[in-house]
Symmetry: C2
Subunit: 219 residues, 2 copies
């Protein structure tokens, strides 16, 4: 019984890692479509998001079956419930990659990248890519040194996000209102993506160490 249980826990673990990898691919393509106004690639991201959603549903079903059939307690129980939370965060990250692709498609054949802020968005995209790679790695290896790195990445993204909002509120902003809206939305998508990444990282840290890093409510 115990052995079967450990094997099933391992499958949930592997599912989480695989979903994180799918999200990394989705983000990669979404950023690519956004920066190169590639509407075909944007369509691909939008279509493939259903696959991530499907994987999340499958993982949740597996987790619920484990709860029903094995009745885990203590740390095993928290791992299973934590997996449900992490799969929800990863699914949301997939949605946000899709939102970036949808913005690209909406503006096509124009570019959705707000030209005056192109460098900022390049950096935000790069940081989000690093973050999801680190999250996938953390899920796979439980190497907790990645948690602080992920939080540092998030802090930099938050700063860039605040900078975008300052730029578009500035009287010196010369772009159109539509451009300002694109900037606000895209910036918010990149920022929310990173927030969910931090949620996953903190959850892994909690499951490994048994301790929250303080600010539980922000999760």
């Amino acid at each position: 019984m115990r052995k079967v249980f450990q094997e099933e826990l391992k499958l949930v673990h592997d599912d989480l890692v695989e979903i994180a990898r799918l999200v990394a691919v989705a983000l990669d393509k979404a950023v690519d479509s956004f920066q190169n106004t590639d509407v075909d690639l944007a369509q691909e991201v939008i279509a493939e998001d259903a696959r991530i959603d499907f994987r999340q549903t499958a993982l949740d079903e597996r987790a619920i079956d484990i709860l029903a059939l094995q009745g885990p307690v203590a740390s095993d129980l928290r791992t299973i419930v934590g997996s449900l939370r992490m799969s929800a965060s990863l699914e949301r990250m997939g949605d946000l990659a899709r939102h970036i692709a949808q913005l690209t498609r909406l503006r096509y054949p124009e570019s959705a990248v707000p030209a005056p802020l192109a460098r900022t968005f390049e950096r935000m995209a790069e940081l989000d890519k690093t973050m999801i790679e680190d999250v996938a790695q953390l899920l796979e290896t439980h190497d907790l040194t990645l948690v602080a790195k992920i939080q540092g990445t998030n802090a930099e993204i938050d700063d860039l996000h605040a900078g975008v909002f300052r730029a578009i509120a500035d009287p010196a902003w010369t772009g159109s209102p539509a451009l300002a809206v694109d900037a606000a939305l895209a910036s918010r998508y990149f920022e929310r993506f990173a927030d969910h990444g931090v949620s996953v990282a903190r959850k892994v840290s909690y499951l490994v160490t048994g301790e929250w890093d303080g600010d539980m409510t922000s999760n």
Copy 2:
């Protein structure tokens, strides 16, 4: 044992209803602060959101204890896991009420309501208020006729949201970029609020009937 279990399930149920009521109060105040540029009320919403987060955490702890101590199966198990999901959606609705209050505070002493779209936002706010009242009622009574009503409310909000985006993208838009951004963000907050309400409604419907209404992935 069975009786204790039913009592504990009832407590989770009551917690959900109470959190929904707290979210309704938060939204009421957030809308009020937004429409009347009342920064004190906005501060109140922002401060009180921690209470909703705390209630969610407490509910989740209770649900996990039930999983650990009672090992529920079948529909009881789905109810508990469903409660974890619904509490997460309600907590997000509280966050979105807070975001509306934060937008109000950010623009103070200016109004955050984009004047050309004041009527649209009035209607969206009204619809969100109706929705959270219906969600709380549905959680309390399991009266499934409310599910279709909630989905209808959401459809109207989606239309208004699309209208806001058309208005700010229109060359005839005369507002500033900052105003367009406020409109885009506020509209998105109202629309996301309703989306989470629909998630809760569909989850209740599923738990009561055992059937999904088709489009599982959009949940």
